[in-house]
């Protein structure tokens, strides 16, 4: 029943920087295995600088120097076949974009062309992918799409600066869903928005997912938003996927010490008991600690943690965790 649509195998994507003759390697995505299913919202959480955005870039094949694909594969499931993204040329990738996979990058409320009206932006989109459409057809398609998602029609006649940040964000997400892609990848779509507007954006994402029955990969550090939309959540720390489980289990029975801190540090209404943040500071991806990258901050660190990175142990079906303490 859980049909895989997007899969990665030991994915490694590093930033290779050459600073004054010395090579520096930022290990942003390090040996990540993912299995993302059809018709689900897969959440990726973690603090800033843990490699969430880089992982998304690798997933959509947007790898540009200094980011390099060091190893592993990203595989799309398309009409019964698995396609390796790295094997596609630019033109093939361009055709896949928006029709098969859409990418809503961070700060996407600023991606709209400021000097043309939104209906022109919509037309650009439709034309570049379905060239045979006339101007009227494109406009008609945009109108139907906007109405279907419950956005006001008058925005098509507006310039981007006339809309609020929240509305621009929703327009961009709507645009990403226009050609009914099988996968929508959204990077922090609710960050920098007000709570009420944030709720509107989340509502829109859910609505799109329900209508298209497609897959949404949602990156956000906001665990409240994750709890609200995600079906499964993967927790990233220092370029590694440290835990992955259905949403209920991540919040109910977190196993990795980092996840436990993350969940327990969230303030809750009606409970004023003191909550502790994670001790210490996040590690630099340039200079990772040996073994498990969390061990300098971990209260349960063992000797082995400083030496060896733990593999994933499947605690239960659908729940895996990379920690020496788990699964024994």
């Amino acid at each position: 029943m859980n049909q895989t649509i997007l899969r990665t195998e030991q994915l490694k994507a590093f930033y290779v920087l050459d600073i004054h003759g010395t090579q520096k390697v930022v290990k942003a995505v390090n040996e990540i295995d993912l299995d993302i299913y059809e018709n689900e919202v897969y959440g990726i959480a973690g603090e800033s600088g843990c490699g969430k955005t880089t992982l998304l870039k690798a997933l959509v094949g947007a790898i540009e120097p200094p980011l390099r694909l060091i190893g592993g594969r990203v595989l799309y499931q398309m009409s019964g076949e698995e396609i390796d993204v790295a094997s596609l040329d630019e033109e093939e990738k361009r055709q896949l974009r928006w029709e098969y996979v859409s990418y809503v990058p961070q700060g996407s409320m600023s991606v709209l062309n400021p000097v043309i009206k939104l209906k022109e932006t919509y037309r650009d989109f439709v034309e570049s992918h379905a060239g045979r459409n006339t101007r009227e057809q494109a406009f008609q398609m945009a109108k139907e799409h906007i109405a279907e998602l419950g956005l006001p029609l008058k925005i098509l006649d507006a310039y981007p600066h006339q809309l609020s940040g929240g509305m621009r964000q929703r327009v961009t997400i709507a645009l990403a869903a226009l050609l009914k892609p099988r996968i929508i990848v959204a990077d922090e779509p609710t960050t920098a928005l007000d709570v009420v507007v944030q709720r509107g954006v989340v509502q829109l994402l859910k609505e799109i997912q329900r209508k298209l029955e497609n897959t949404i990969v949602l990156v956000t550090h906001d665990m409240g938003v994750q709890a609200n939309v995600a079906d499964r959540i993967g927790i990233m720390y220092a370029g590694k996927m440290v835990e992955e489980a259905p949403t209920g289990r991540i919040f109910g029975e977190p196993l990795h010490p980092y996840t436990q801190y993350l969940i327990n540090s969230l303030p809750r209404f009606g409970d004023k008991a003191t909550r502790e943040g994670v001790p210490g500071s996040p590690p630099s991806l340039l200079n990772l600690p040996s073994g498990c990258p969390f061990h300098p901050r971990c209260p349960h660190a063992l000797d082995i943690c400083t030496e060896q990175m733990p593999g994933h142990s499947n605690v239960e079906r659908n729940h895996r965790v990379a920690c020496w303490l788990a699964g024994e």
Partner: protein
């Protein structure tokens, strides 16, 4: 009752647009509140509600159009900047924007010590700086000679707090101090405010859009909407049993970290924000699910229900309602 800081009918009007089509936006409209000694007072609301403008006026960065700010019984304009800033210090949103990236952070500390004549010699200054850094969980050794980029965001925000503490202020104005800090480190900053209040009797004006941390740290809270305080009172009462329809909307829109409590129902958003500022009557009337005729014409009065101030027609004498209605 002793009041450390009192803000009385503070109004700020900004003019927008050209000479011909001028729009006047009332960023804060007759805002009044006070802060007691050793109290954390939260000022919460969405962007554009006037909370930062209020803070900027208190700090003297912005001249109020009308209204007064009284600190320790004296108007802030009376005794000069040094007197005022000795008692009231600020912490800003972006810790990396607070410090010049090309200067070592300790220079800011020595500068403050010098400006306020807090120590007689360098040794005394270092002692004082070390003492304040210890209060925020850092030490002089791990901080001396470092540039801002050598700290993490959370650390730098604590450094920023330590600097503010140098003058032994009685009030800290913290404008969105945790919104740029990672979730895992947020609690360390918020817990720090709690500790400063409990151990040193420092009051904090905590300006935030994050109601969850506001609930966690503060004693009293004011909810602002489009320049007005719409609800103000003890934090338990305001956030656990919100009375104003806007507070309810805000409270319900917070995604709770509990997959059992997902949102249901659709939310109505405002399309054009400045229309709400210019609205006659109650500014929430365009989106309020309980809107009445009077709301569109008349600005609602401030009504006290129990200890809580509510700016809503639903609670005036002519419209008695129980608090059991729901959205």
């Amino acid at each position: 009752m002793e009041k450390l800081l009192e803000v009385d009918h503070l109004t700020k009007v900004f003019s927008m647009g050209s000479m011909i089509s001028r729009i006047r936006i009332t960023a804060t409209d007759n805002v009044s509140f006070y802060i007691k000694p050793a109290e954390i007072f939260a000022l919460a609301g969405e962007s554009g509600c006037g909370k930062t403008t209020t803070a900027r006026m208190i700090l003297g960065f912005e001249e109020p159009t009308s209204g007064v700010i009284v600190h320790n019984g004296k108007r802030t304009t009376e005794n000069g900047r040094v007197w005022f800033t000795e008692g009231v210090q600020a912490i800003f949103q972006d810790p990396f924007g607070t410090f010049n990236p090309l200067r070592t952070v300790d220079r800011y500390f020595f500068e403050t010590v010098q400006n306020y004549k807090l120590a007689r010699n360098k040794k005394e200054a270092i002692g004082l700086i070390d003492q304040k850094l210890k209060a925020v969980g850092l030490s002089y050794e791990e901080f001396a000679g470092k540039y801002p980029s050598e700290f993490s965001g959370g650390q730098l925000q604590r450094v920023s707090t330590a600097r503010a503490l140098l003058t032994n202020p009685t009030l800290l104005i913290a404008d969105e101090p945790v919104s740029m800090v990672d979730a895992s480190l947020r609690m360390s900053i918020v817990n720090l405010f709690k500790k400063l209040k409990e151990e040193f009797g420092v009051s904090v004006l905590y300006i935030t859009h994050d109601l969850a941390t506001a609930y966690y740290v503060s004693d009293r809270i004011a909810i602002m909407f489009r320049g007005n305080i719409v609800e103000m009172g003890p934090v338990e009462q305001v956030l656990l049993g919100p009375r104003h329809p806007y507070t309810r909307l805000l409270r319900e829109s917070i995604p709770e970290a509990d997959p059992q409590k997902r949102w249901s129902g659709m939310v109505k958003l405002s399309d054009i924000e400045h229309e709400e500022y210019l609205r006659q009557g109650c500014r929430f009337a365009g989106r309020c699910p309980l809107v009445m005729e009077i709301c569109k014409r008349q600005v609602p009065p401030d009504v006290y229900v129990d200890d809580v101030l509510v700016k809503c027609h639903k609670y005036t004498g002519d419209n008695p309602t129980s608090s059991s209605w729901s959205l």
